[in-house]
């Protein structure tokens, strides 16, 4: 076994949060080492770099690790009344390498869920405390959008202008105007104009299949170039087996397998776990020891619990006229927060957003609606380029019964355990979801759709895996404090989607990265305590 010289900070995970922490700490001057169990994405193999991009998206680029089975992946099983179809990537940039780029700030009320609505928990910090880090993150990634949305607090001007609406967006704006609802151009992590050496988006669309242009702001393109320039040492194909504790109970580093399966150690004064909503509880539980028999930093018993995934669905409307659906950003150019805040007139608390997207791409559409045989082409032709979809995302409340557990019956390539997720929709989520879908259909009908179909609430799309090591003020009911510092281990930080006490009703990447930047600043400010 070989050990390395001690770094200032060891970051485990190079995704949205890990990348932001590495860049921020190295900007300050810290010596940082990062362990990433995956590798760099080979951009020549991005699906969208090939004509058969849809097919590649179902095979080697499949978002479900049980299908994709990259060497860095581990098995993830799904249990429960409403099992999760897990979407995640283990690579430099983490799951952002397969995201659509919807990039929201939380609302102030998202940080006071218990106080305002009597459900979930309050965050140990406020919107105002996080807002400066949202602003830093927006500059780092080159956020596209427009300040002034009356559905949120006042904002500074954003770095890049909104993405073009396209015909789908224009039809939806007409619908919102007809309904008299609030709407706003969607904020997206896409460089809509040349920005910090990255090119302007050229509207190829279907962003989740990879952006060969490099305009989709994934962490491998935003934070990592600067972090590497600062001297951060990124070790890829480094699969961490456990966090190492010293005799004083402090973390001293991590033990990992390199790509040849050889055990190694990395040592640092501070250890940050940033492996995401599944990977983080997996590593903490794998790091169990006599002093921490239920897993590291788990005296609360909450590591792996309170898994949240958002209440999500699509409604798709069919239109008589073509909608030019083959181009434009896919994550939705125009959105509404009309139903985001709790309304006493409704039979649920909390709320949701809706974002309008182009319809479905040829293969995806054919698999959905085109029967085989003589009726195939007629069914296909009347819908391709004649559909608009509404993506809907609502708040999923934390429940301890929704959880992840180690699965020692199914191992990864180096003998480390897989995971099993357990999930059932909360009754509030079911009511919210029903209302959310009804309003999605309402918008499409107002836009002139001849017919609307929706996807219901099953399967549960595990695109956002949150809450499994949540922050809070009380060590009995949380895993870390408000600065992501583990209650149980003073120099251990947990900073990623697992930190979120509640889910909000929006895509979480922006909040994950803002929290990570805030955590990095705290680590730096407290460096004399290392």
């Amino acid at each position: 076994m070989s050990a390395e010289p001690r770094a200032d900070v060891l970051v485990i995970g190079s995704g949205a949060s890990g990348a932001a922490i590495c860049k921020r700490l190295s900007d300050h001057g810290a010596k940082v080492v990062c362990l990433e169990q995956g590798d760099w994405i080979d951009r020549a193999r991005l699906p969208k770099a090939h004509v058969d991009w849809e097919v590649r998206g179902r095979r080697h680029w499949a978002a479900n690790p049980n299908v994709r089975r990259w060497p860095s992946d581990y098995p993830v099983g799904s249990e429960g009344e409403d099992p999760i179809d897990v979407y995640m990537y283990n690579a430099v940039g983490g799951s952002q390498v397969g995201f659509a780029g919807n990039y929201w700030r939380f609302a102030p009320s998202d940080f006071k869920v218990k106080t305002l609505d009597g459900v979930g928990v309050d965050w140990p910090l406020t919107y105002e405390e996080l807002a400066p880090y949202y602003t830093i993150n927006e500059a780092e990634i080159g956020l596209a959008g427009l300040a002034g949305d009356p559905c949120g607090p006042e904002r500074e001007p954003l770095p890049n202008p909104p993405a073009p609406l396209g015909r789908p967006g224009e039809l939806l704006v007409d619908a919102y105007e007809k309904l008299g609802w609030y709407w706003w151009p969607t904020e997206q992590s896409i460089t809509t104009q040349a920005y910090r050496g990255r090119p302007a988006c050229d509207n190829r669309g279907w962003c989740t299949f990879g952006c060969p242009q490099g305009s989709l702001s994934t962490a491998d393109l935003t934070y990592w170039p600067g972090a590497l320039k600062n001297g951060v040492e990124l070790r890829t194909n480094a699969r961490v087996r456990e966090i190492i504790l010293g005799s004083d109970g402090r973390a001293v580093g991590a033990r990992y397998y390199d790509q040849d399966g050889v055990i190694r150690e990395a040592h640092a004064a501070v250890v940050v776990v940033a492996c995401g909503g599944l990977g983080t509880p997996r590593l903490l539980k794998m790091s169990a020891s006599p002093a921490h028999p239920d897993g590291l930093a788990n005296s609360s018993g909450l590591v792996g619990k309170n898994l949240m995934v958002h209440v999500q669905s699509f409604a798709t409307g069919q239109f008589e006229q073509p909608v030019d659906g083959w181009r434009g950003t896919w994550g939705g150019t125009v959105s509404t927060r009309q139903f985001y805040e709790t309304d006493a007139e409704r039979d649920y608390v909390r709320g949701f957003i809706m974002s309008g997207c182009p319809g479905w791409s040829p293969l995806n559409l054919a698999l959905q609606i085109a029967p085989w045989g003589s009726g195939h082409h007629a069914a296909f032709n009347e819908r391709l380029n004649h559909e608009i979809s509404m993506y809907m995302c609502g708040e999923d409340l934390p429940e301890e019964s929704n959880r992840v557990e180690l699965d020692w019956d199914h191992l990864d390539a180096f003998g480390m355990p897989g995971l099993i997720t357990h999930h059932a929709l909360h009754e509030n989520s079911k009511r919210l979801g029903k209302d959310m879908i009804a309003h999605g259909r309402q918008v499409l009908e107002a836009a002139g759709a001849m017919s609307v179909r929706d996807f219901g609430l099953a399967p549960i799309w595990g695109w956002h895996l949150l809450g499994t090591a949540r922050m809070g003020t009380d060590p009995k009911t949380s895993v870390t404090d408000a600065f992501n510092q583990a209650h149980d281990v003073p120099n251990l930080f947990i900073a990623d989607s697992s930190s979120m006490p509640t889910s909000g009703g929006v895509n979480p990447s922006h909040t994950i990265q803002a929290l990570a930047l805030r955590c990095a600043d705290h680590i730096w400010e407290k460096r004399r305590d290392w």
Partner: protein, 191 residues
């Protein structure tokens, strides 16, 4: 890899003799539209599969049928890379051939399009629905991933099949559209 798992219907491990093609297929990277010969199927079974995929997606205007676009060879290449899927494919081909001989008294590939459609509907209903779905899914992939099909979509649907590869300029967002919304009162809770 060290695991095989079905995602649908909960936490189950696929049976050794019947792996789930939806999971297994992640291992098979098979570029669509590349010329290739059959590697797994013999000539007779290759003819059956070619006729099968042509029945699933027949020709229409400028669009050839799936058989003419190499969908059968694509399926063959997939099961070549994932041998665990071969039994399901071979068994399905042999079964549909037996049904054809029994019902139509000729080889499946020699049946008319209407006859083949009837036979496949019987196979789908009474035969092996999962194998049928596998062949159907792979056929759709081979068809809608093919550059010739994508190029042909514009004439009938307006969809620029190669547009997602090339992109192009679009009209910028017009902020004046927000005039009404900007005049609305704030819609968020101050805490």
């Amino acid at each position: 890899m060290a695991y095989d798992r079905k995602q649908e219907g909960g936490h189950k491990v696929a049976q050794a003799n019947r792996p789930d093609y939806r999971l297994e297929v992640g291992r098979a990277e098979v570029p669509v539209g590349e010329p290739r010969a059959f590697a797994v199927l013999d000539a007779a079974r290759a003819a059956t599969l070619t006729a099968w995929v042509a029945t699933l997606i027949p020709a229409d205007g400028d669009r050839p049928d799936a058989g003419a676009l190499g969908a059968a060879e694509y399926i063959d290449a997939t099961v070549s890379k994932v041998p665990s899927l071969r039994p399901a494919l071979l068994t399905a081909l042999d079964l549909v051939e037996r049904i054809a001989q029994t019902k139509a008294h000729k080889a499946f590939a020699e049946c008319s399009t209407d006859e083949r459609e009837l036979l496949l509907r019987e196979f789908q209903r009474d035969g092996d629905a999962d194998s049928f779905q596998m062949i159907s899914d792979f056929t759709y992939e081979a068809y809608y991933g093919h550059p010739d099909v994508l190029a042909s979509l514009e004439a009938t649907t307006g969809w620029k099949g190669l547009g997602p590869m090339k992109g192009g300029p679009m009209k910028p967002f017009d902020p004046s559209l927000l005039a009404r919304v900007k005049a609305l009162p704030p819609r968020w809770r101050k805490v």
